[in-house]
Symmetry: C2
Subunit: 219 residues, 2 copies
């Protein structure tokens, strides 16, 4: 894509560092170059609700192109590198190349599909199933982006954060992980996820990759 030719500045983010905060009015959008970013809500009691995770190539804050003030925050999950592109330049690009605009619009619609799936996941499934579904999604997307090696992918996230993503307490997350390990479906340990039985894991989490709308599927 021609986005690569736009002027941009790359920045390194430390683990847990915020890239944007709720209430900000950013003038640039970010593209993940390396590592992982996440969006989250900050709740009145100080707790967090993680909303989505973003891998290399994703634009985790495309929404701020058209919506002035951020209703959520974006932070790094593990060390990450992001490229910032001014909105002005993106808009000019959309004018001169409408297809690029349409492609990014499409990406934002897929983001929305991922949000919808998260609603269903966190509302209608048991703790181990939620865990399994999230693992399936992250592994599938990682693999589609060529970020896996054999059956494992990097996932520099803590159990607490997993809970804040899935609407579960730390203890329940732990037991769900133990469950997946015991049934030999997946093994999550010290920031890396290993798939032991893909079909079984997908079945447990009712994972159907249709909603990701990938052009070429990694399986």
């Amino acid at each position: 894509m021609e986005i690569r030719r736009l002027p941009c500045s790359v920045r390194e983010l430390d683990s847990h560092e915020d890239f944007i905060r709720q209430g900000d009015r950013p003038k640039v959008s970010a593209i993940v170059v390396e590592g992982m970013l996440a969006r989250y809500h900050l709740l009145p009691n100080g707790a967090r609700q993680y909303l989505s995770f973003h891998l290399a190539g994703d634009m985790p804050d495309s929404q701020c192109l058209f919506i002035e003030v951020m209703d959520h925050a974006v932070c790094a999950i593990g060390k990450a590198f992001v490229a910032s592109v001014p909105h002005r330049d993106l808009m000019k690009l959309f004018d001169s190349r409408p297809k690029v605009g349409a492609a990014i619009w499409r990406e934002t619609l897929i983001d929305a599909a991922i949000f919808r799936e998260a609603i269903t996941n966190n509302s209608a499934r048991s703790a181990p199933a939620r865990m399994a579904h999230l693992f399936c999604e992250l592994f599938y997307r990682s693999r589609a982006s060529g970020l896996t090696r054999d059956d494992t992918c990097i996932l520099p996230i803590g159990l607490n954060q997993l809970g804040e993503a899935l609407g579960l307490s730390l203890a329940t997350v732990n037991r769900a992980l133990a469950n997946l390990r015991d049934t030999d479906l997946a093994d999550f340990k010290s920031g890396s996820l290993t798939i032991r039985n893909w079909a079984g894991l997908a079945d447990c989490g009712e994972f159907n990759p249709r909603y990701l709308h990938l052009r070429r599927e990694p399986f």
Copy 2:
């Protein structure tokens, strides 16, 4: 908006009637003319997860403009009228008037913000709080669209469906409603919602309308 001038066909939908099903590849997009539409996932066990509700003026399936196959369904909540506009015509409009395209893009981004809020609502809040938040959102949006009278708005939805939206069982929905009624926050009865204490309800549901990004606020 110039959308009104596009050729379109208006159709009446019965309560519960599907407008689009999962797996469809629609060639038209809908605009709600009257009544209410909802998006939902159909789960493997036959259950539903409602994802969002759409009032007059909304485009509940804008996503199919750029994504071929539907990953969710859209149905009527109560009787409704929808106008269908062929994608072809919308695309032509976007070409000739980029501002219209940007406005619709913005709408889809607000949809995404509503999905995010639903993730948080269904993951991080108690049953009565979820109920309160949903009521706040629907009343606020209804009011912004001029669809309320005094402190009540039409909400032709059953308790079962409320549960399928909030990730709660029928019994819990009932008790949550009783709770809101007892504390004199809101009264939901036979398809209409009456707000008794707006500040209290918003507080109970931690409702902050920021995420709706409305240009002019109804309160």
